[in-house]
Symmetry: D2
Subunit: 301 residues, 4 copies
Amino acid sequence: MELGMVGLGRMGGNMAQRLLRDGHTVVGFDPDAAARKALADEGGGTADSLQALVAALPAPRAVWMMVPAGKITDGTVEALAGLLAPGDVVIDGGNSNYKDTLRRAQALAAKRIGYVDCGTSGGVWGLAEGYSLMVGGDQAVVERLRPVFETLAPAKDAGWGHVGPVGSGHFTKMVHNGIEYGLMQAYAEGFSILRHKQEFALDLHQVAQIWRSGSVVRSWLLDLTADALGKNPTLDGIAPWVADSGEGRWTVAEAIDLDVPAPVIALSLMARLRSRDDDSFADKLLAAMRNEFGGHAIRKA
Amino acid sequence: MELGMVGLGRMGGNMAQRLLRDGHTVVGFDPDAAARKALADEGGGTADSLQALVAALPAPRAVWMMVPAGKITDGTVEALAGLLAPGDVVIDGGNSNYKDTLRRAQALAAKRIGYVDCGTSGGVWGLAEGYSLMVGGDQAVVERLRPVFETLAPAKDAGWGHVGPVGSGHFTKMVHNGIEYGLMQAYAEGFSILRHKQEFALDLHQVAQIWRSGSVVRSWLLDLTADALGKNPTLDGIAPWVADSGEGRWTVAEAIDLDVPAPVIALSLMARLRSRDDDSFADKLLAAMRNEFGGHAIRKA
Amino acid sequence: MELGMVGLGRMGGNMAQRLLRDGHTVVGFDPDAAARKALADEGGGTADSLQALVAALPAPRAVWMMVPAGKITDGTVEALAGLLAPGDVVIDGGNSNYKDTLRRAQALAAKRIGYVDCGTSGGVWGLAEGYSLMVGGDQAVVERLRPVFETLAPAKDAGWGHVGPVGSGHFTKMVHNGIEYGLMQAYAEGFSILRHKQEFALDLHQVAQIWRSGSVVRSWLLDLTADALGKNPTLDGIAPWVADSGEGRWTVAEAIDLDVPAPVIALSLMARLRSRDDDSFADKLLAAMRNEFGGHAIRKA
Amino acid sequence: MELGMVGLGRMGGNMAQRLLRDGHTVVGFDPDAAARKALADEGGGTADSLQALVAALPAPRAVWMMVPAGKITDGTVEALAGLLAPGDVVIDGGNSNYKDTLRRAQALAAKRIGYVDCGTSGGVWGLAEGYSLMVGGDQAVVERLRPVFETLAPAKDAGWGHVGPVGSGHFTKMVHNGIEYGLMQAYAEGFSILRHKQEFALDLHQVAQIWRSGSVVRSWLLDLTADALGKNPTLDGIAPWVADSGEGRWTVAEAIDLDVPAPVIALSLMARLRSRDDDSFADKLLAAMRNEFGGHAIRKA
């Protein structure tokens, strides 16, 4: 089918490409001319403004946003609200907070523009392997977009699904990422224990490879871990500094809102926060307290 | 090759069967006659005592123990020490604590009997899919047993490896299980959050299925989770009571011994401990404290 | 000085009483006639509506709200906004979220009505011992209320302070309660360990008493713990069910917003959430997973 | 009464001094001549060997050990076993693991030498304020030592107690320290949150002072925190590096042995482990994984 793609970065560009390869027509917009050029090189149409993008699409239009969550999404939705017509649909394939999604869907619904949220997992591997897609929205609109989901997913009938009303796709993706934090932290702790057992001089890459076949802990993240350890067994040159992109925070907040204990997801997030603080005030205060009650020596900063 | 198998339960019986199917000769011992009968039905030899088992094997003998960790392993090792000859080898394929393994290996080394520890993952699926094997021991002995490992593993050259000296196989398996606890807890928390978001009425089985293809959290444990949710989407009739078999405890102890923070593995273990205490003294005391300082009502037990 | 008190429950009633005892004039309002009667019995004035309360106070008025956080506070602030005059001041002594406080202060500022947030700790003991007060607001307004704070606090110059601009009082109280969660959980865990060491048959009340003098863990919460254990050493009849009143949740959210790891406060909150779920879906799923991969038995619900 | 004191460091020296001030006779031994000299200056007797110490005491002798836990305690107990006579008693006032205590008590019991374990809290403040003492041992022997405990404690009948059989004193002290870790971490997290809320520019020393009177979180550790923040409000020059002396580790191990969840104590320990690792392998691996699946940038070490 014919689709507009707003945002042609690492994710949006690859998704457009996967759609083109499967015979869809894609018109893309990105403020970056190089990103537009890359799409054109793959056979896609390009537009140098949202207006041009909308003008290039046949009604009823489908515009897929693949832009950074937050203000840019808000700005794009607002602009599209002024350009699109009743019956058109906007799809947010980014990592938006589902509460923002509910708000945006309501705003567009007032203009009879449809809104679909599509939680998208797969990272840089999605182009080749397909994306896992958790779709929220009205049945009819989702059904209309089915050809797009079937192409983006790893297979026509696997790796994507209509999980519920608008908002539920981003909600499900949020929890997916919360789980991801926990899985990653579990592996990281385990390999760290292995590494510190110096008397066994374990080859971490070998261990990861063994586990990939037949073990209970085999997973795609383990495959990637094996790759990383194969390339750099001691992780030399890599700073112990771990970013987070928001979904982990939202997952913890949601767990608490729902009265659901989620200690492992919460602690995984906090391990990342801790990784970025090399001058912990809490730890300084602990050292100061120990000095106060026990006369224990303080290390100088 | 020819192998004695001590312990023909869920794990040992399946492993013997997998060896037989690949052309190895297996003589098995188990105190349970039905377990011996099952092996005989598969074409294995049986012995009704350790003595008989040892007598039935050609020197140099290889005896694989697949018995519950702890006292039964100790008893078996002691008995075998009195029956085997220099040059023979004992393999412990169970979930022994690696410190016990070091002790047992030392005791047998005094009699010039070899000792190999083989951390074994794969559960009930190992028979069909092969086991992930982490092997510790002397190079020459491990090499002699290569045909056995190649058969038990998912493939000749995948899913098994000689990771280091004796003890290192069980150490690696211990950490494997610690990771497993963390992975399981991460999924459990995530699905619990999804389930409690009642307004989205999510179909957890569908979500698990979507994630199995293309997502960052795809894994074998997720495959099993999808199976479990497919059979029983609301987990009706299942008590929220989670056993643990020791390796998680050892992993936490080892992490602390090595000064390695392992919050997620520790918390995963504690979640299991908590699942088995439906009359938490700590929680009662918290309720009592709140009553003391704030006059907050206490629920009657 | 002369003060209006809105809300004459456990906290507000006691605070009014403490003010009366020190010579202040208090006019109180509460929808509950019995609460008003109790204040009258202590020598306070009463009003049967907010209008009547405001009418009974000399300008510039000071009205202290001691009502449940949330909608009731919002309703009270709105009503007072319509009744008070420029130069009057409203004090929120309850456990409001500091973000709500900022919003309310702004709304009243538009009418030139002052707003002061007073985080109040001390519970049912405050009447006798005084309250710990963390005050946020403009310097001049706080200064005008000084006589009230000096009476409510344990001593004229101890246990209260002007900590910063409006909002900072409730913020500080929020963190205070987050710490409180952590302290309580630490004691609860420790006493639970002691109790489960059955071979030592420890007398928990005795232990608490010993620790109250000279130990590093002595505290007011320990004093209360000793009281509770003295009255009911085995905590018989108390359900292991622990409420939470919001500040712990806000503290965790704030910690995450500020990128500050707060594992102990987060876990203390989650222990409370867990105490209230006797049918944990997460634990059921863990049991189901174990059954899937290892054939481990599931307990029937 | 007359007491031998082995170990005249920060703790032992102060305890000897407190005993002397209350009229007891103390003969002290320490390998460090300066420490012996300090005791002599306070009016104590000194011995330059364990033999000399034992010889200087009247039978039945009481020898209090205040030495670092572990090998030094073992060596001292062994040496005393060869020097003392039936009816004598050894007291271990240090932070020994209660399992070591049980072993040592059994060894001395074979020679009819008594053994008492005295968990001792109070740190450098004990000299002036008295120590909190948790005493384990046989009733008759503990009774004989009563005058010593009554002097060392903050008051004759407060701050000390005979909690159970030998081992129970050190067990109780171990849990005491586990609680201490949790309390400290709760304060540290809370003050860290306050500090990072820059828009409120809170004076942490002021906040600590306010809380000391009337608040639910008042405690001796808070008093010390206030002192530390008073001297150095921003904790400048203090490294975020926190030692641990063993009891926290043992508490976590014991909690797990007893199937008691202790998330807060466990996490408090792990926060300390984390404070001492500025090149976390786990965090590097997390960064490497994120790069693998999402192409997220890695910071260079």
